[in-house]
């Protein structure tokens, strides 16, 4: 008798695991970069190519590096969230326009609004490569010492902003 009920019991145990698995966020992949210094680079700004930006310029500030592109669909989903965040003036948001055409990037921001304190242009994707970008959008929280404190793959939502990013930013700012 026992052996006939065994498949059912195995299945029940499995369902518990599947249920637990539902709550897990597969996008939140631990990045080898978390806890390490943000890779250094020097890149021109999108709007004024003559001016350059380097992460060193942000020393002493907690800031957000948001990788986006005009061709990226999910970036349009997170755009309103970033706009709302920008209007609260909590921290500087630096946009990294990844593998894009300059005029397309500028046009997108002109049309939809620009949530960024400044936008840097990574047209050949070399900096994105250093940061291990493998899907756009991606967002990094970088602390006062220039360390990457958190990495999010995929769109920023109001939810993960509220639950993860903003508490972390508050904590980092207090340090």
């Amino acid at each position: 008798m026992m052996r006939f009920i065994l498949p059912f019991i195995i299945f029940l145990v499995l369902s518990v695991f599947l249920y637990k698995g539902l709550g897990r966020d597969t996008r939140e992949v631990p990045s080898p970069l978390v806890g390490k210094a943000a890779p250094a680079f020097v890149l021109p700004l999108l709007h004024e190519p003559a001016q350059q930006f380097s992460p060193k310029d942000m020393q002493g500030k907690v800031w957000l590096l948001n990788v986006w592109a005009s061709w990226c669909g999910a970036c349009k989903d997170e755009h309103p969230v970033l706009m709302a965040l920008a209007s609260q003036n909590i921290l500087p948001i630096v946009g990294l326009d990844y593998k894009d055409k300059r005029e397309d990037g500028e046009l997108t921001l002109k049309k939809a609004g620009d949530p960024y304190s400044l936008v840097i242009a990574d047209m050949d994707g070399r900096v994105g490569f250093d940061y291990g970008v493998y899907g756009v959008p991606e967002t990094y929280v970088i602390d006062k010492q220039g360390m990457i404190a958190y990495k999010l793959i995929g769109a920023v939502t109001a939810e993960n902003l509220r639950e993860k990013i903003l508490p972390l930013v508050a904590e980092l700012k207090a340090k």
Binding site: F4, P7, F8, F11, R24
Partner: protein, 678 residues
């Protein structure tokens, strides 16, 4: 208006499916002919309305109706017509609709081709399938309607993922889904047999052809998917052990086991409860595959947007369907008597061992696929297992399986003496071994490699393949021995026998392909200036630069590579690097010259900046890789031959004359000679 009609049709189909799921099963339990009589018309009605819903979505795609959210997300006005149609199943909602459509097609097909079955069996089978439909249609209506509007309408759509804009996508998912959903028939038969309490050989006989047809679709679907990955992903690989690939491979393995154990249950009445369990498990894994792909529990290149609400729904559905079936099994199966007895060495024991090996293989793929989930749930952190795990586990399991696969068709039912069987196969084994040992010594010359390469893995692989072929010949010789002209003797064998042999030959082809491509492939990843040449595996590839070209919805850099062998030009290959207009996504389109003995494969990497037209170019020589898909094709063809067998067609006419349908089947099954195979 039309999308709303589609939505409405889906609601009607849901109502019909609900009635189908209740009335006929109730009728069968109470022996109410009227209730049972509802089963067929309801099955046809359900197909009609799901078909209407599908047509409505197809219309929205073909007419570029971007006021439908799903269309706006997955299509574009520039998208060529055939891909606009294929885009119907390019996303989550549409593929569910395709799934529901196929389920209705299978249900209606059972309704049509079951004239010879007892009424209560038909009622139960259709009823169970109706219940599954209810689950899927509810899922669509509650969480994933493809008919949702986007108001105001988008000016244009976001376009179909470029990876999916390929002839492979037009046919691969439908084939695979036909297979997945097809296992629901075997499942429904098993559940009906459990419900009716009659677990005899007859239900096995009825569900065999259905199972085989589903398995054929699945084999083709998986083969196409693997071929698609080979030429579309640009890495030259043909199988990645990706969770979604595994999701289709697990039910395939169990389906293969099921086909074989059904044969034993039908012929010998043995392992009945095991067969029922396999039928339940094969379909459960199909459902689980859906859960894995749709819920975002595992990450994969194939994943659609993750949505926890959907995950909860499918999980509940899964628990309900599988849990209820397994409880029913636990309740009814103990009452099933044991079947015919058999000895330690007999065809039954060999088939049973193979069944166990296939199930273990399926379980090990399952564990590997869900390992990250288990570890994470238990708090051990996020990690995953890759191809090394699967290869390490899979190959040792396949070794004894292939060995027994050679013996099975030669062994007698019930009882076989070891010396007798050894006597039959000793020459087959000896010749397979000699060939496997010697062939690698000639391979280098044959494939024009710099040197011969002899490795134990290559010999082992070849031994497995030659063993199958050699035993196949032994079997044929045994079968065709006797008097009369050879032609009549060849014709006398049943189609299902040839089907089995052909499918087994397919496995041999498959093993040859896997072994030789792994053992002898050459790969060069080089930076090439215009005019540069690179040598690989006896071939010389000359890079003539990249030109621009424009497709219907993309612009492409087309590389020109001339391939020569011993100074003679073999061909011109034109790999492409495409940039799709709407999504801006780059796509590598490999150029492949296929051949029986080798593929030449060139794909473009990236343009090298600040150079004079230089590119990163990837060049592969893939010996015998097409044998992998030829093997899949032969397996599928074998399945088709097996279901075309006379005994499945024979009931059509005589049925009308006989009173009891059960008698008619038994009378119409031709008497097969001793040792007849599946």
């Amino acid at each position: 208006m039309i999308p709303e009609l589609g939505h409405f049709s889906l609601i009607i189909a849901l109502c019909l499916a609900m009635v189908l799921g209740v009335l006929p099963i109730l009728g069968a339990a109470r022996n109410n002919q009227v209730f049972m009589g509802f089963a067929r018309p309801l099955a046809y009605g359900q197909l009609l309305f799901v078909g209407l819903a599908f047509s409505a979505l197809a219309h929205a795609f073909m007419s570029n109706d971007f006021s439908v959210l799903y269309v706006a997300q997955h299509s574009n006005s520039q998208l060529p017509g055939q891909y606009r149609f294929a885009a119907i199943w390019g996303g989550h909602e549409g593929s569910l609709l395709l799934w529901a459509l196929f389920l209705s097609v299978w249900t209606a097909a059972v309704a049509v081709f079951s004239r010879h079955l007892p009424e209560e069996m038909v009622a139960r089978v259709l009823g169970v399938m109706g219940l599954i439909s209810v689950g899927f249609i509810l899922f669509m209506l509650f969480t994933s309607s493809p008919f949702e509007r986007l108001l105001p309408a988008a000016a244009d759509g976001r376009d179909l993922n470029p990876l999916l804009q390929d002839p492979g996508l037009v046919i691969h998912p439908p084939m695979l889904y036909m297979g997945y959903v097809g296992f629901s028939v075997a499942y429904a038969f098993a559940i009906s047999a459990l419900l009716g309490g009659k677990l005899d050989a007859t239900w096995a006989r009825w569900s065999r052809p259905w199972t085989t047809v589903a398995w054929v679709f699945m084999t083709i679907g998986i083969g196409l998917g693997s071929g698609w990955a080979y030429y579309e992903l640009g890495w030259g690989g043909w199988w990645f052990w990706d969770p979604v690939e595994n999701a289709s491979f697990m039910p395939w393995l169990l389906g293969t086991a099921l086909i074989h154990s059904l044969a034993v249950t039908e012929k010998r009445g043995a392992f009945k409860s095991w067969t029922v369990l396999l039928a339940i498990a094969a379909f459960s894994l199909s459902l689980l595959g859906t859960f894995l792909v749709r819920s975002g529990v595992l990450t994969s290149v194939h994943s659609f947007a993750a949505d926890p609400k959907r995950g909860i729904f499918i999980l509940s559905f899964l628990v309900l369907v599988i849990g209820a079936s397994l409880l029913l099994f636990a309740w009814r199966a103990p009452k099933v008597g044991l079947g015919g007895k058999f000895d330690m060495l007999s065809r039954e024991s060999l088939l049973l061992s193979n069944n166990v090996l296939l199930s273990v293989a399926s379980a090990s793929v399952f564990i590997g696929t869900l390992y990250p989930l288990f570890m994470d749930a238990l708090g051990y952190g996020k990690l995953s297992v890759g191809p090394p795990y699967f290869e390490a586990v899979f190959v040792p399991l396949m070794l004894p399986m292939v060995f027994m696969m050679g013996l099975g068709p030669l062994a007698r039912w019930k009882k076989m003496a070891v010396p007798d069987l050894a006597q039959r196969v000793k020459w087959a084994f000896a010749s397979a071994l000699v060939l496997a040992l010697l062939l690698p010594l000639l391979m280098g010359k044959f494939l024009s490699l710099e040197s011969n390469k002899w490795s134990p893995m290559i010999v082992l692989g070849l031994l497995m393949a030659f063993w199958i072929i050699a035993t196949l010949f032994v079997g044929l010789r045994q079968r065709l021995a006797g008097s009369g002209s050879l032609m009549t003797r060849i014709r006398k064998q049943s189609l299902s026998y040839y089907g089995m042999q052909l499918a087994h030959l397919g496995v041999a082809f498959f093993i040859v392909g896997v072994t030789l491509v792994k053992g002898y492939e050459t790969e060069r990843d080089v930076r090439m200036n215009v005019g540069d040449t690179v040598a690989a595996g006896g071939y010389e590839f000359r890079f003539n630069g990249v030109t621009e070209s424009e497709g219907p919805n993309y612009i492409a850099g087309v590389g020109h590579v001339t391939v020569s062998h011993d100074g003679k030009i073999v061909g011109e290959l034109t790999p492409e690097k495409r940039q799709y207009n709407v999504s801006g996504m780059p796509l590598t389109e490999a150029a492949i010259q296929t051949g029986v003995f080798r593929d030449l494969y060139v794909s473009l990497g990236e343009a090298i900046p600040e150079s004079d037209g230089a590119w990163a170019v990837r060049v592969y020589i893939k010996p015998f890789i097409d044998w992998i898909w030829a093997g899949c094709f032969l397996m599928a063809l074998g399945g088709i031959l097996a279901v075309s067998d006379r005994r499945y067609r024979i009931h059509k006419k005589p049925v009308a004359k006989v009173d009891s349908p059960v008698v008619s089947i038994q009378a119409s099954v031709p008497v097969l000679p001793e040792g007849a195979a599946s």
